[in-house]
């Protein structure tokens, strides 16, 4: 099973490092990263495998959201099915 992590907000040093470290700590394996910065606005999408998560997915998502709000970022982790269902028949 995979989840999609989206990170948006004002750019600063160490965003990817912080999110990656959090994922590693919880045993979420990153399989894909797309990231860019447009006029100081940071946007990143990560696809992670969540089969071996060491915490319930809800806690993983809540942890990322908290990490984001501490840095003034919007970080969301959502099960990939919501995107697949909405955009693929």
């Amino acid at each position: 099973m995979k989840a999609v992590i989206t990170v948006t907000g004002k750019d600063s040093v160490g965003i990817i490092a912080a999110v990656s470290a959090f994922c590693a700590e919880k045993d979420a394996n990153i399989t894909e990263i797309t990231q860019n910065v447009l006029s100081e606005y940071f946007a990143m999408i990560m696809i992670v495998e969540i089969d071996k998560l060491t915490v319930p997915f809800a806690d993983f998502a809540a942890g990322l959201a908290a990490l984001g709000s501490a840095r003034g970022l919007d970080i969301r982790a959502m099960h990939e099915d919501i995107f697949n269902t909405m955009h693929h028949i």
Partner: protein
């Protein structure tokens, strides 16, 4: 394969355009709770509801967290209480209302629907006893919703029942006078009521339904409005396609949540209700969609046409996205719960007569409309009869949720807070329909040929 544009589109819908699942409603049959002893009946009802829906709220919250989509309400609908109460006394029915409230408190749900009676052709003693205590039930509970079906296309219109509802609504307004007559916001009068509607206040669990069922109501007026804005100055054929595609995406999310909830709660999936359900929040309004389509203000000439097209396109897009569609499915136009509708009424652009015309082409009916507190019972009955006739003649569901706000007049407004919003008091004609209403009896079912 996920692509970035799709991911960002979904995130944008949730974050900026208020996409949410409006409700997961678990329907629960109470037919097996029947007992001739009212206390025993109440115990069985409480036990059945709290046992069957024990994990409803937690499951809703879990799904919300996993998929990152807000699920605003978790609710329960039950078998119309008049069917299980039978011949118990009015006091017994009131006790049942309190039992429903107790079950709602235990479960942590925000509404429980089904303090209801189906009287489209005639009333049993049980129906009469239940209706006689609706005002007390609404005043003495906070989360119990009530509905009465007074007409159907096959049976015609039960005008005796409408007469009874006129006085019931007035009494509910009086008994909850200290709280803006909020009792009336929890009471709906229906024609052709659907038996699988997940939306309140009109939800109940129909007699043709299984022991328990999961029905889901989707929403997303903000998403549709944003899609129309992005489409720019296209023609109406193209605009209908934009709405259809958007409705498809919204409904797919509803289908995902419904299947997941049904699986986790071990209850069959019932239906998705394809409704554009507004909230008082900015950017979550059906009226603003109509204005985005090109009307200067909702309520002006052209509103009915725009709404008819919107309603049809939402259904066409949604039908393919879900395995089963039902409930009320269509655009809702509650006044107090829609920021754009409130603004249109305050600007004098949207009248009760126009709202009535709009209900001929969209979901539900005259919904969450506040009228002067001194409105006579007969005028309320006249409004109900008019609206119900539209449903009966057009073979569709219509409903009336009127709030004759006690002590308030035109120029005042009533505020209920939360999803129920704020309603400006709307002016009514005061000429009396009393003689017509006093005749009672039934208006015969309409003919279905010679269509004109």
């Amino acid at each position: 394969m996920l692509n970035v544009a799709d991911i960002l589109e979904t995130i944008g819908m949730i974050r900026e355009e208020n996409l949410d699942i409006r409700t997961i409603t678990m329907g629960i049959s109470l037919l097996d709770c029947v007992s001739e002893d009212p206390d025993h009946l109440c115990t069985r009802v409480y036990d059945k509801i709290t046992r069957t829906a024990e994990h409803l709220v937690k499951t809703g919250v879990d799904i919300e967290h996993e998929y990152g989509i807000p699920i605003v309400n978790k609710r329960v609908s039950v078998t119309p209480i008049s069917l299980i109460g039978g011949s118990i006394s009015p006091e017994g029915y009131l006790k049942l209302a309190h039992t429903l409230q107790r079950a709602a408190d235990t479960l942590g749900i925000n509404f429980i629907g089904g303090f209801s009676a189906l009287v489209h052709k005639g009333m049993t003693t049980g129906d009469r006893n239940l209706i006689s205590v609706i005002p007390e039930a609404l005043a003495e509970t906070t989360n119990v919703c009530s509905s009465v079906n007074v007409a159907s296309t096959k049976a015609g219109i039960n005008m005796d029942a409408i007469r009874l509802m006129g006085s019931t609504i007035k009494r509910a307004a009086y008994l909850t006078r200290d709280n803006n007559s909020i009792g009336c916001a929890k009471l709906v009068v229906f024609a052709n009521v659907p038996e699988d509607n997940p939306f309140m206040a009109g939800a109940f669990h129909g007699v043709g339904e299984p022991d328990s069922v999961i029905n889901v109501g989707v929403s997303g007026p903000g998403v549709v409005a944003a899609a129309i804005r992005r489409a720019g100055d296209c023609n109406l054929s193209e605009l209908a396609d934009v709405i259809k595609k958007t409705a498809f995406k919204i409904t797919r999310v509803g289908q995902l949540v419904a299947s997941e909830a049904a699986r986790r709660l071990h209850a069959p999936f019932g239906i998705i209700d394809l409704s554009l359900a507004p909230t008082p929040a900015i950017g979550d309004s059906v009226a603003r969609i109509l204005e985005e389509m090109g009307l200067e203000v909702c309520g002006t000439h052209g509103t009915t046409a725009a709404l008819a097209m919107l309603n049809d396109a939402v259904k066409k897009g949604g039908v393919m996205a879900s395995s089963h569609v039902g409930g009320l499915s269509g655009a809702f136009i509650p006044v107090s719960e829609d920021e754009g509708m409130i603004a249109a009424v305050n600007a004098g652009a949207l009248s009760l007569e126009k709202l009535e015309a709009m209900t001929a082409v969209c979901s539900v009916g005259l919904d969450m409309i506040a009228v002067p507190g001194d409105t006579s019972e007969e005028v309320i009955c006249g409004i109900i009869a008019d609206e119900i006739s539209i449903g009966v003649a057009n073979t569709k569901t219509t409903a009336v949720r009127l709030i004759p706000a006690y002590g308030k007049g035109v120029g005042d407004s009533v505020s209920f807070g939360g999803l129920l919003g704020t309603a400006p008091i709307m002016p009514l004609r005061t000429d009396s329909p009393a003689r017509f209403i006093a005749r009672g009896g039934r208006i015969p079912a309409p003919i279905h040929s010679l269509k004109n």
